[in-house]
């Protein structure tokens, strides 16, 4: 059994830790590239969401490398993500690529279902070994998050930005290679110290919150590397969702106590009284959260045609108006032009800067949304 999985940001590090500690063979899809997009777009339905297309491209590329089993997450609606696997399998079958799909999701009928799926993957391994593997994978997810958070903070600040990116890449590589928890902690401490040691510019810096659909937030290829672009425009980005929070929410059903998006539900309530699937309600709530924390603006990213985020986007102008916080929504897919995105980001940064200046001078902030 050669297992592959769809890319989502740095998730590969976590998956590798999980599968390899269980002695399973992993075939990582090549990093998502133009070719991945082309393959996905060619074979996916035209109006499927962008993550669907990228996943499909990953599967095809992994198949070419010999993968025969796909491991992915699922769901039970109402977001389309919950039905990806079934449609993707149909497409792969029609292409003549026979691959098994193991979809980890809340079971429909009984927990037996989920247990059987895991059994199928792990063979004769004991549950204790599974738990150990999950724990280790979880530590890796946390390690990635801690480093990323630091990078987001430092990007606008450091003078040698290239050096920072280099350290970031190295840190990821070392985290990926770390064989146990102890060396993992050492790697994290080591790189955090190196990064913090880089000479910094004096502030203040604009602060922006990044909200939206989780795949688009977590996958730089899907969001056109928005965090790095904002960093180089001198903006500190705070991300509303991290890998570990996503894993906790989707795979552990919120059992672990890490900061997630639970609190945003209440914040969203005056504007959106129901969950709407995906992260729609969290998007609205996180925007309120950022406004309350005095951020300069919120950037909202989503794949084109994403239903929960369309509901959220419909509502954001009301939040923006009540709290006087500027928001920018970007729908991203294979048709988005890089130049257009850059222009819109630059304009938004200017707007935030002007607003901050006005605020410092004591004028009431005007609300603006796009």
């Amino acid at each position: 059994m050669k297992i592959t999985y769809p890319h989502m940001g740095n998730l590969y590090i976590v998956i590798r830790a999980l599968l390899e500690s269980l002695g399973l063979e992993l075939v990582l899809p090549p990093p998502t590239s133009r070719r991945t997009v082309e393959l996905g777009v060619r074979h996916a339905p035209e109006f499927a969401c962008f993550p669907f297309k990228l996943n499909l491209g990953n599967f095809i590329e992994a198949y070419e490398l010999g993968a025969d089993t796909i491991l992915m997450a699922g769901g039970v609606g109402p977001c389309r993500f919950g039905y990806y696997a079934q449609v993707q399998r149909e497409i792969l079958e029609d292409l003549g690529y026979h691959m098994d799909m193991v979809v980890l999701e809340p079971p429909d009928t009984s927990w037996r279902e989920l247990r059987d799926k895991i059994r199928y993957l792990i063979g004769r391994k004991s549950w204790w070994e599974v738990i150990k593997a999950i724990r280790f994978a979880w530590f890796k997810a946390r390690a990635v998050d801690v480093v990323e958070e630091q990078v987001l903070y430092l990007r606008p600040r450091v003078q040698q930005t290239l050096e920072l990116e280099k350290l970031y890449r190295e840190a990821l590589k070392k985290i990926d290679e770390a064989p146990d928890k102890k060396s993992l902690d050492r790697v994290v401490d080591h790189y955090l110290a190196l990064m913090k040691g880089l000479p910094q510019k004096p502030g203040p810096f604009l602060r922006v919150g990044l909200v939206g659909e989780f795949f688009t937030v977590l996958e730089p290829f899907a969001n056109y590397d928005i965090e790095r672009r904002l960093g180089s425009l001198g903006v500190e980005v705070n991300r509303s969702i991290y890998l570990s929070a996503w894993i906790n929410e989707h795979l552990f059903r919120g059992l672990l106590r890490v900061k997630g998006l639970e609190h945003t539900k209440e914040l969203a309530a005056p504007y959106l009284k129901s969950f709407v699937g995906g992260h729609g309600r969290e998007t609205v709530g996180s925007t309120v959260d950022y406004a309350l924390q005095g951020y300069d603006g919120v950037i909202h990213v989503a794949p084109f045609t994403c239903m929960p985020e369309i509901v959220a986007h419909s509502i954001l102008p009301a939040v923006s108006k009540d709290y006087g916080i500027p928001t920018l929504t970007l729908y991203l897919d294979e048709h988005s032009g890089e130049a257009g995105i850059v222009t819109r980001l630059e304009a938004f940064v200017d707007l935030m800067a002007a607003r901050r200046e006005r605020k410092l001078k004591g004028e009431a902030g005007k609300w603006i949304f796009t």
Binding site: F275, G277, T305, I315
Partner: protein
Amino acid sequence: MTRVGIPRALLFYYYYPMWKAFFTEIGVEIVVSPPTNKRILEEGLKAALDEACLPVKLYFGHVLALVGKVDYLFVPRIISAEQKAYICPKFMGLPDMLRARLRDLPPIIDIPLDLRRPENTLDDFLKEVGHVFTRDRYLIKRAIEAAHRADQRFQELLVKGYLVPEVIEDLQGSGSSRKGVAQNWRPLKIGLLGHPYNIYDPFISMDLIGKLHRMAADVITGDNLPSAVIDEQTRFLPKRLFWSLSRKLVGAALKFFESENLDGVIYLTSFACGPESLVSELVTRWAKKNSSLPFMLLTVDEHTGEAGMVTRLEAFIEMIRWRKRNEDHLSAYGKLVHRY
């Protein structure tokens, strides 16, 4: 008398008979927005988000057509209309989207309908709606009974072959179009797939049903199939479809594909619809693989021109006629050989 506005859009096409009976019994006047027209569309396009789907944009237009004419707007938050299923995220946030984008709306009745769990019932929902207008529990009880009777009658007529708009027109008392028997006499028979608010709204569908009728084709939709048939057909899907409208559509499609007295299947879908982007892909693939019936997918949006659609429709029907004339020379209609 208190007037309650009901937009003629989205699930109006399923719930109108029930709602009408309920509100009438309660003693409330209901006002339905006029059939979709250009103005309603334009107002909707202006008010709703660009990225929203056409049916949601139209809903905005219909709401605006009611503003100023009613005391309440009835926009229940439809989270789920059956166990373990949703309709679409946009239905779940509909009242909130309206409030965030439209000014000076009358009070919205946005009581949630959530039947995902068996302990939540339609009756509880109706009770809550009734409480907005009266404290008379006996009256509410009568209204609930009336609602059930009306819905049952509606379902019976559908299974007999009447089309949703025919029944609704009758209820609105605009002529007695209904004859003793349902349509069943035209030489061709077409299975029509699509969300109710697309296929039954003559403006969105560009009167597809009327056009088919004039081309001498009877139309049957998924709504004309008893729900047991839908359940039966969708039982073997590799995964339960958690969108109610899609589940019905897939059930109907599979039934149509194995039907011996249909001449073709048309699937009408609207641009940028989330669930349909995946479901239409599955249905189209199955149509090719598992059915020998002629199949056509029509996608509409606010820019679709009528001329193009008419051309495609005519070509499709012409092909079916040709096929029918030459039927003897073709292999027998294929049965569904492979099912998921």
